[in-house]
């Protein structure tokens, strides 16, 4: 899954995992740097998700019920 289609929750969780790995510290330096870059990119993504979000609202109608109750 590319970062662009990731949900906020997934990006946020991944960011936390990267931080854990970096703090554990037994990585080769090139990997640490790569992880750090990925972490920075994820943090930016999380913030953009939070800033740009607008509440979406949809309404269900009672007309949908007929098919519902037929199934029971």
């Amino acid at each position: 899954m590319t970062e662009k289609t990731m949900s906020f929750e997934e990006a946020f969780a991944k960011l936390g995992k990267i931080l854990q790995k970096l703090e554990a510290g037994d990585l080769p330096l090139s990997e640490s740097l790569a992880l750090y870059e990925e972490g920075v990119s994820l943090a930016k993504y999380c913030n953009s998700q939070l800033d740009a979000a607008e509440l979406k609202i949809k309404t269900l109608s009672a007309a949908d019920d007929d098919t519902l109750f037929d199934e029971t």
Binding site: S7, E23, C46, N47, L50, L55, I57, L60, A62, L68
Partner: protein, 411 residues
């Protein structure tokens, strides 16, 4: 019917005639055709036809009642059953064929809030005993509910409040409004249907908010309804209730996975706060940066250490080390030499002192003389004869002499 010959004595009538007469009397009585009837419900029996039969009684008497199906569906208030004190609006009528009179109900009002509280307590105890309020059954709310279902009236302020809070706190969410009446006899079945609609969504919501604004106990009554409570209990999706004001507790509040005091509070409880999330993200970013800086600094220090070790092993370093070693050895050797020389010097002056004591000059100073005949030192009388020329060395010089005569000393 026999016509009497004379018109005296009580009339002779058939059953039908009597019943019809009674009916007519009642149908034309102003009071009986338009009244409110107060009493307590007993023998409440909803029939499969949709009509509801029951008895209304007070302490001394009772009367049979019926609610026709068409009226039952549009009742403002629907009693739960026996024991309920109600006021019934309607009229008395007579069922001619059976010779009975009944009260036909057109409207019902609950009598007194006390009756409601009794019902509330009864249902609360019953459901508690069944375990519907148990903590073990309550689920944790999802931390990031991307889909939120809301059951409430579409026209009410409660919905507006909820949407405001959600928009501020967690605008990433998609809200699905499943509308339902939140008051009146229609409300309980509508609320249950609204819940079912949300359960059937694909994908389903992550959390459901059931809410309505403040009101009297009668206004909130739908949320004390048993079918609504059982539906909330059966919900496959966690339910947060926000009904009434802070101090209002309805049965659904006890059954729900989480109760909030108001609709706005329910929206808050159901969602994380965007600002809080942003500060978490900032915190993560800060910690990551600190960690990576530390990692880099550590690596640099390790490299420096390596450099230092390397320098210690370089050819130049080895030459310098060897030079230093040679210097040290030379210094040591010089020190030893000095020491040895001074030792020898000491020895030498010691020996010279010793030698000095054997110096013949000291002996000469004491008055002794050294006699020489030519180069030879004369030590005995045998070394000379009379007439020899000898030299005599004394302490401060020498003189020549001639031997005149010699004499030997025995002893």
């Amino acid at each position: 019917m026999q016509t009497p010959l004379f018109d005296f004595g009580p009339p002779r009538l058939s059953v039908s005639e009597v019943n019809a007469h009674i009916r007519q009397l009642i149908d034309t009585d102003d009071i009986l055709q338009d009244l409110w009837l107060e009493g307590e419900i007993s023998n409440w029996r909803p029939a499969s036809s949709g009509h509801i039969y029951f008895t209304l009684k007070d302490s001394a008497a009772s009367i049979r009642c019926v609610i026709w199906r068409s009226t039952a569906t549009r009742l403002r208030y629907r009693p739960k059953g026996d024991g309920e004190a109600v006021a019934l609006y309607g009229r008395v009528s007579v069922y001619e064929a059976g010779g009975a009179y009944q009260f036909y109900v057109n409207d019902i009002e609950p009598l007194g809030v006390g009756a409601l509280y009794v019902q509330f307590e009864r249902l609360k105890h019953q459901l508690a005993a069944e375990g519907l309020f148990d903590d073990e059954h309550k689920r944790r709310l999802p931390p990031f509910p991307h889909r939120i279902g809301v059951v409430t009236s579409p026209k009410a302020a409660a919905l507006r409040d909820i949407l405001n809070v959600l928009s501020r706190r967690f605008p990433l969410a998609e809200v699905t409004l499943s509308p339902a009446a939140v008051q009146g006899a229609d409300a309980p079945p509508q609320i249950v249907a609204a819940l079912k609609r949300l359960w059937a969504q694909s994908p389903p919501p992550d959390v459901i908010i059931v809410a309505r604004g403040g009101g009297s106990i009668e206004d909130l009554w739908a949320f004390n309804d048993e079918t609504v409570a059982r539906a909330v209990y059966a919900s496959p999706i966690p339910v947060v209730t926000g009904v009434g004001h802070e101090t209002d507790f309805t049965i659904v509040d006890f059954v729900a996975d989480r109760r909030a005091p108001t609709p706005s509070a329910a929206a808050e409880v159901a969602t994380p706060d965007r600002e809080e999330l942003k500060s978490y993200v900032a915190g993560y970013a800060f910690q990551m940066e600190t960690t990576i800086r530390q990692t880099i600094a550590d690596r640099r220090a390790a490299v420096r250490q390596m450099e230092q070790q390397l320098a210690r092993l370089s050819p130049q370093m080895q030459i310098d080390t060897r030079r230093q070693q040679i210097d040290d050895i030379l210094t040591a050797m010089y020190r030893v030499q000095k020491h040895t020389i001074s030792l020898h010097r000491e020895q030498l002056s010691g020996q010279m002192a010793q030698l000095e004591t054997l110096n013949p000059k000291a002996t000469l100073a004491r008055g002794y003389a050294i006699v020489q005949k030519g180069e030879t030192v004369v030590a005995s009388t045998n070394d000379v004869s009379a007439g020899d020329a000898i030299s005599v060395l004394v302490s401060d010089g020498a003189f020549d002499a001639e031997v005149r005569q010699k004499q030997r000393i025995e002893g």
